[in-house]
């Protein structure tokens, strides 16, 4: 059974740089961003997430909204298992694919085909499993002969096609995405949306952080507003987006 649970998750970033004090001042004077916490012994810390609890099950499609610096990316990184929270617990069941960064594992000198292999291995697949899906992924990218060229010849949008196709063709059960679909051209974004809808029909868990409310409305069922590291609002996507629009 696919599930993703967070229990009162708090994430503190230690700030070790010598200029931390002035950074603190700057952050405090801004309306947005994480909170600055002072530990007497531990020095300066930035609290990126505070007491976040979520229980997601198969079929949940969560849209994550919030101002810049609200903790969206940090939350996605916690969900992906990259960050272990300072306090609280995370339990993840299901094969997870995180598309937080298009350039993850991309080797500019290698060809498109080779980079599809890289991505697959990063997702925990064996080489033979990737090879079995290679044709399907190649077709989805629509990059044709470009796939035999080194990736440094690709445009940003073409890299996005490659990364998106590679990540979504391996039947992930949990899919985590940060805002970056905007790089694709219209035809590809449409195609990507359809693929996300298909994915959702297969009853995985999707968590998508985006400022693009029309994309969220189309793909997601549930919405979460993050503000200064806390869950400010949780509910159906329409309600959440209405509240988010009213407050910004």
């Amino acid at each position: 059974m696919v599930s993703l649970q967070l229990e009162s998750v708090t994430v503190d970033f230690p700030v070790y740089s010598p200029g931390a004090r002035s950074l603190k001042k700057r952050l405090l004077h801004r309306g947005t961003g994480g909170r600055i916490a002072h530990g007497a012994a531990k020095g300066l810390r930035v609290r990126a997430l505070e007491d976040v609890s979520l229980a997601l099950e198969h079929g949940d499609r969560v849209g994550l909204v919030g101002p810049n610096g609200a903790g969206k990316t940090t939350l996605l990184r916690v969900l992906a298992g990259a960050y272990e929270p300072t306090r609280g617990r995370v339990e993840r069941r299901g094969r997870t694919a995180s598309l937080l960064n298009v350039s993850l594992g991309i080797d500019g000198e290698a060809t498109g085909y080779e980079n599809i292999m890289n991505r697959g291995l990063f997702l925990g697949l064996r080489p033979d499993q990737v090879r079995a899906r290679m044709d399907e992924i190649a077709a989805f990218t629509e990059l044709g002969d470009y796939l035999a060229m080194p990736v440094h010849t690709y445009s940003a949008g073409m890299r996005l096609r490659l990364a998106f196709a590679a990540c979504t063709c391996f039947d992930p059960e949990i899919l985590l995405m940060d805002e970056w679909l905007g790089l694709g051209d219209r035809a590809f974004v449409e195609k990507a949306k359809r693929r996300l809808e298909q994915f959702v029909d297969r009853a995985g868990i999707l968590v998508l952080a985006s400022q693009n409310t029309s994309l969220l409305q189309r793909v997601c069922s549930t919405g979460v507003i993050l503000d200064k590291g806390r869950v400010k609002c949780f509910g159906s996507i329409d309600d959440v987006l209405r509240i988010y629009r009213e407050n910004t």
């Binding site: 997601l56 990184r77 069922s221």
Partner: protein, 276 residues
Amino acid sequence: MGRIAAGRRGRIEAPSQAVLALLDLAQGARAHHLWHLLAWQDIRRLYRRSVLGPFWLTVSMGALVGALGTLYGMLFEVESADYVPFLALGFIVWTLISGVITNGCNAFINAEGIIKQVGLPLSIHVYRLLWRHLIILFHNAAVFVVVAAAFAVWPGWTGLLALPGLLLLCLNGIWAGLLLGIVSARFRDVPPIMTGIVRICFFVTPIIWMPEFMPGRPLVLHVNPFFHLVEVVRAPLLGEVPELVSWIAVLIVTAAGWLVTLALFCRYRRRIAYWV
């Protein structure tokens, strides 16, 4: 339908940090496709679009051994047939040791992009490091083959003892990479300090000079762990059985290193993603 799970604290059972640390090492080892690929990517990146590619490693090692072998052989007034194979092996093994130490400092720092995106075992970055330097070692090994043929060095069955020696070197490479990776991620002054230390160690360890130049094998030779680490691979390939003291010293270093590293890894594994 998802919901906010409030008021249900303590429902998720978390394994202990020690178990998680050991799992990290085991799962990392199992992801051998990934670190094999990443290690080769590192090598190819260094030699992209060059004609010889990674064989430039072999060529430059060969040139180094050829030049120093001739010059220092004359300076020290030793037989080339004794000195050049000794020098070649010393350099090849030292390249592995120093590579793992100096690059181990950046094992996690350089992998920031991966560490912050996906929840992969952290140990893959250390296996990748060790594998990369083993690939370099195997390229350099060709130099020894040529030297051995030129000076008719044949280690015989004793040469097989180099295999357990190399295995011990690898075990030490893993803890060293892990330890330095953790400490350097937190304290960024460690990498330049280690570069300096490694350079000193190169000169105090018998690589370009032979232990025989120091009559009576003084303490300064035997308290140097690098001497023993080099010796367990170099001596067998020159047809000599390494002294018992070398085996014991290497085993002690291996055990002590792993103990300290495991303690540190259990304690700080979960913080590394925040430090890089």
